[in-house]
Symmetry: C2
Subunit: 416 residues, 2 copies
């Protein structure tokens, strides 16, 4: 089944509003196993709306329109669609009654142009709006469906899920009843290299759809399997996952939707362990990422951003002669920082990062992009060293990424 999406509104054409409805609708339609053939936006314009619908209908089985259902003069979607297909408009008394009740409930003054929201093209099946005054509708135009729902994202979402998709399922019952999805998250390879590593896998013959989603500095793969039986659906998905794992094992850090922060937080909470972080080059980013997780106070005791050597010496108990001997950016200083913060904070783990985010401060031995990370518990301190080649902000981001992966691997018993 092929669908088209048409979002309507001048605010889309002048760039005032980012169209988030299209991606939401597309995702839900895809999850049903249907195809999105085209996505379009158009202004509040009779001729243009008609023109776009006449282009979309032959390409698709159903078009989902959003926007232009408000009470003001520039909301013309219903009238434009009625005109495009030569349908007269009528007032639905029950919808009108509902709008008036809503006005009374919220103590709003009734203005006659609100009655416009109770008008529909003849033949329309009404789609209720559980969260606003603008009802939607669906028309059957010679076997093609045209859905119209409001463009306010909260209303679009509710009415798509509760109104549009149930009607679509009634018109287009599905063969493949089962679907399953697997997200695989990788770090350390470019998108092109991931693609290259997987190019000999025939996903088509497995009946699995693969999608690549770069989310700096990670690359995510999403597998979707859709078959007639649950077992077959799951078996094919597992085969695809196993083939990918064979080729990318070293770079896969997670199977699932969770973010790296969420994974680390869940591991720390599960193991009832606490953490303190001493950051230099990352400037607070590691602490910030960990404290983005609700409930992080259960494991996150403190973070210290020691930009000056004095702060390292005083706050982390790093000996001044150690910094002098090895340099602030060195394995030794990283180890001393991690051990220092763990002891001072009294936590189970101490993490440190010291490096050169750039754009200046690099040398031949320690170029911009160099980072030393250390993780200390009561038994040992492990250290890692990387050199990246991004700009300052992305270096900070990728430093924080390897720091979080280091904690994750340690807690999962991987690595050193």
């Amino acid at each position: 089944m092929k669908t088209g999406i048409l979002t309507i509104g001048n605010e889309l054409m002048n760039g005032r509003t980012v169209d988030t409805n299209s991606s939401f609708i597309a995702r839900e339609v895809n999850q049903q196993g249907w195809h999105v053939e085209a996505i379009m936006s158009v202004g509040d314009d009779f001729k243009a709306i008609k023109n776009r619908l006449n282009y979309l209908l032959p390409l698709t089985d159903a078009v989902i329109c959003t926007g232009g259902l408000g009470p003001t003069a520039d909301d013309i979607t219903t009238a434009a669609i009625a005109q495009a297909f030569d349908l007269p408009l009528y007032t639905d008394e029950s919808v009108l009654h509902g709008i008036k009740e809503r006005f009374a409930k919220y103590n709003l003054r009734w203005i006659e142009n609100n009655a416009k929201q109770a008008m529909f093209p003849q033949g329309a099946e009404i789609i209720a709006n559980p969260v606003g005054t603008a009802a939607g509708f669906v028309l059957n135009i010679k076997g093609k469906l045209i859905f119209v729902i409001p463009g306010v994202p909260a209303e679009t979402k509710r009415m798509l899920l509760e109104g549009v998709i149930p009607v679509l399922r009634r018109y287009f019952p599905q063969n493949e009843q089962y679907s399953a999805k697997q997200t695989i998250k990788t770090f350390g390879l470019s998108e092109a290299a991931v693609d290259d590593a997987l190019k000999d896998i025939n996903f088509n013959s497995l009946g699995v759809i693969i999608g690549f989603y770069p989310v700096f500095p990670e690359n995510h793969l999403v597998l979707i399997s859709r078959r007639k039986t649950l077992k077959e659906t799951q078996d094919k998905l597992k085969m695809a996952r196993d083939e990918i794992t064979k080729r990318l094992k070293k770079y896969i850090f997670h199977y699932g939707e969770e973010t790296l922060e969420e994974i680390v937080a869940a591991l720390l909470i599960e193991k009832k362990m606490t953490l303190a972080v001493a950051e230099s080059c990352t400037g607070g980013l590691i602490s910030n990422r960990l404290t983005n997780i609700a409930g992080s106070s259960a494991f996150f005791e403190r973070g210290i951003v020691t930009y000056s050597n004095a702060a390292k010496i005083k706050l982390l108990d790093v000996p001044a002669d150690g910094i002098e001997k090895y340099g602030a950016v060195s394995e030794e200083t990283a180890r001393l920082m991690a051990e220092g913060i763990r002891k001072i904070a009294g936590t189970d783990l101490g993490l440190s990062a010291t490096g050169i985010a750039g754009p200046t401060g690099g040398s031949v031995d320690k170029p911009v992009g160099t980072v030393y990370l250390a993780l200390s518990d009561s038994a040992q301190t492990i250290c890692a060293h990387h050199v990246f080649r991004w700009d300052r902000k992305r270096n900070k981001h990728v430093f924080s990424e390897v720091a979080l992966i280091m904690i994750k691997d340690f807690l999962q018993g991987k690595g050193q």
Copy 2:
């Protein structure tokens, strides 16, 4: 001049990615005084790309396409456009050389499929990519222009502004020779409220185009004046700026392009002042934003993320009975934190933030979204209190925003 926008990529059709490029392009095109006639998205599909272009070209003078210029097998935009217009592909040696140099510079392994990014349809004028490997191009198809640039938003933005718009201006010269631009950054009003406050200004009669750019949690206004003489251009711009200032004065924090972090950093460096930051609810975000600025080590001495009360007591010298009496989230504790870190770090300024980012931890008196901020120098400590209603991450963001504005206002002698 009428333009069409065509964003290309399966990630748009399955809803994994929200298309932010279309609104960015639409905004910039509108700012030039041109019209956006249609916006479309299409998957990585030869037939569909051809079909969409053939629909868009008769409606418009130029179509701007983004996406599908990567090195992987599903990146087919260039090949699809060449096929649609019966143009052979050729390899541009200078682009190829540039890509290979980039790979060498970043120490990336060369894979032969990357050479694909140096192939263009015959007759293409190449548009350089200053931030990535994928060059863009423009084709003149019987007087209609087709632009193709990458879909990675950072690349789309740079190449639109530096490549596409200059070529469009060459093809569609404007009468007005002079142009001037003024960015005005506001914080504290919703986009709708800004729009409402300015609705009585007739920008058209001033000959000034206004663009709205929400960049959470800020709203940016961009004024563009384009006239035949330099003086008139500047005069009209100033008139529009003054009208806006009259209505939004309280909410304007900057006239210009600089980020809030950059403004604060420049002020601290200019005044040769140092800063230490004590964060609770913001979890390192204030430190992270300040250290995103190259050269921040000149003013940023240390940041401390004190999630536990023990850390506040030990690291900031906040008396335990003070926290007990007033609560960790209170004006008194914020003041003690700011004063404590300033003294301990030996800096000119101490900044603190304590609050409740959510989603839990709120009470009737201090709901989720409450924050207390304090800024201390040797003479005084000022404090601010806000309640916001966002989710955890956005609360953290908006807390850090008011903290940075507080430093800025203080250094500029505004406020208390």
